[in-house]
Amino acid sequence: MNFTSQKNDSVLTPVTLLSGYLGSGKTTLVNYVLNNADGLRIAVMVNDFGDLPIDTSLIVAKDDDIIQLSGGCVCCSYGNDLVRALARLQDLPNKPEHVLIECSGVALPTPVKMSLSLIQGLAYDGTVGLIDGSQILKQLSDRYIGDTVARQIKQADVLFLSKIDKLTDDVKQSVYEKIGTITSKHAVGIEYGSVPLDTVLSSYVADDLSVDKDMKFQNSKFTHANFESMVVRHENAVNLTILHSKLTSHSAGIVRAKGYLYADDGRQYLMQLVGDHCEFTPVNKIPISGLSENESAFVVIGIKGKLLMPSLS
């Protein structure tokens, strides 16, 4: 749990990390996100330009360091110097609205996450971990990369399992069991990189919270067989510590949550949660119409059938 000191949240650019071993489907996911960017200016950062992970059809122009993609998105390389590449992005005339960093196959996401705090204006937006369902059992028992892959899984906030369509039910079962020994998070099966974008990028989490009062399910902007979302409204002040532990408890099945809180310290906060990572940023005014001063409202996105909203009182 973190309390951000910056008051003005609107200037922070969210940064999502994409982690996973070779072949886990990071490139496919990046392309899916870019093809469905829907006007959001996304900057994709890759470790090198060697294996350009971008559909050539998306490329509009190539400069030295930055490749212009359709829809105002860009792709750039960071080599050994992620921090300066991120700083350079901040100076672009058309500053990106969201940054997606594709970590190298053997990289651990936590050090990359730590690097983000070296630059002002960025907000960590979670680590999306990809697992190659067809290889994971072999990878985890590999004497060289087993511990690296396990650490990647442990450090992810949201987990996706790719390439499971050809697995038998028995194997699938062992895969889930094995992952369960590493993390308490559910790994959600995906096909061809197709994921609801609001699970990957908080920028897509709907901020239209002016819906029903009592925790009614609503359709996510992005429908997906394995996810569902709901809007939560609450009338009395909430205790942030208690809320945090409830939202991140294994049984809640929550992948992301975003919204505004009226806390029991009398202040109002923007809450952004992904996996175990939660930021509370004080705000002067809750920018939602129809919400009274001591009310809280937020969206939660979770795994279908597992999403439970624990009572806030």
């Binding site: 951000t4 000191s5 910056q6 071993y21 070779l22 090198d48 330009f49 060697g50 294996d51 390389s77 080599g79 050994n80 110097d81 992620l82 921090v83 300066r84 700083a87 190298s104 196959g105 053997v106 651990l108 050090p111 730590m114 690097s115 705090s117 070296l118 630059i119 002002q120 590999d142 004497r143 060289y144 990369i145 511990d147 690296t148």
Partner: protein, 545 residues
Amino acid sequence: MTTIYAAKKIYTHNPSRPIATHVAVKEGRVLGVGSLEELKAWGDYLLDEQFVEKIIMPGMIEGHSHTMEGMLWRHAYVGFFDRMAPDGKVWTGLPSKQAVIERLCEFEKNIKDPQVPLTGWSLDPIYFDGTRFNREDLDAVSASRPIGVLHASGHIMNVNTKALELAGLLRTGIEHEGVPLGNDGLPTGELKGPDVMTPAGLHVGFNEDMLACDEQGLWDFARLAVRTGVTTATDLATRLSDEVVDTALRVTADEHYPLRVVPLRFHHGVTPKELVDQVLSLKARSTDNFPMGRIKVVADGSIQGFSARLNWPGYINGATNGLWYIAPEQLREIYDLSLAYGIGVHTHTNGDEATDLVLDTLEAALRDNPSFDHRFTIQHGQLISQAQFRRMSSLGMSVNLFANHHYYWGEEHYMQTVGAERALRMNACRSALNHQIPMAIHSDAPITPLAPLFTAWAAVTRETRTGRVQGEYERITVAEAMHAVTLGAAYTLHLDHLVGSIEVGKFADFAVLEDDPYEVPIDELRSVRVWGTVQGGRIFSSADM
């Protein structure tokens, strides 16, 4: 025209004529070695007797160095050990924090422009009983000028408050294990690891690409080489950008440039296919003084940084196993392509697990790409075990061991990283030779000083800096060490037909010494005086550098 040099004694490292008094040189090559009478048969000659009181041996070859050492010497040296600069001045080692601050102050006084940063290098607080530096210490040198001091390991930097401010790091809210915070929540000024150092480094006088050497740096590096008897040195990890290649080709072609620089293309940043393509096309642009066409792969991190990949039982303090810097699949692809195209690959491993990965990968790659003279080399290989040496031998591998490491950090390994038993087998030269593995030994300059005679001494004695012998069994003889710093290194680079011995047809590359390394008491091997070198038949005296 033929020149015949007379010397007190010439050690040729050619077994069929190991010792001679005269060497004839023509067109930059050795025309013959023997007595004056024998050499006269080649016809007209000029007898040069300036070395008649000196010892000549093959020019020494540093098989693992980085030319960036040449660039560091424009900054303040603040290391613990005495160290010779390119101009020959020996900077005394600094025994305390106070002494470091004083030297920085001296340098500070000489920089007129208040905007220009003050840069120091080779700091190693490990020798000051763990006293750390913080930004206030450096603020005492100057509060207005940015200051950065690189540690000897190359992995940590200390900066002052001004530098933190310029780097945008003088604020609260930083959560990074490489940025320790003080009680005020602000960084203390110690920056650990490349992702923190690089952005701050730009404000304190370091390059964007710290591996890229500029023109002045190449000259200064070469001046150090002449002073230490080196005529060939590797630049062991460079990205070989067009600019770096153009500069290096131009500088090394200068008629007064005294060094062969052998660059190895660092694997990072391109796909294996692109790496091999680039190296192949560069190979075609090679010159005698800048032979390209080799690859350097980094497999794991360092032992003292706890980032090396170790086999069971791991680090003695229980630290989590280290990091891979390449995926096994990528390593395999680089090996496959390099074997197929005849490119030499040198792979950095420190931990024994990383060495196992290299052995497994090469064994599989060789099955698909049979290759009889690949000479793939493990660089550092600090923890190679007996069983691994046996496999290396079967697979036709070479090794370049970090003999200097023992002297500088042997005590730390014994106490803090791998414990006593494995510390005894680190940098195991005797074992490598017992298994008939072609072997070089190295300094990894600038990590430790470029000075093959010192490196030879370190391999012969295995003394740590406290004078304790660590791993007596792994000591080698003077002759073996002298071979390692000449032909041994040449072999790992596929250059042993051109350099490494004084032999007809090879380049006239000699080290000219005042003392006889084979005759001095062993403890004086490290301080054998170097007069200078002959490189490609051209004479370079240390005194002129």
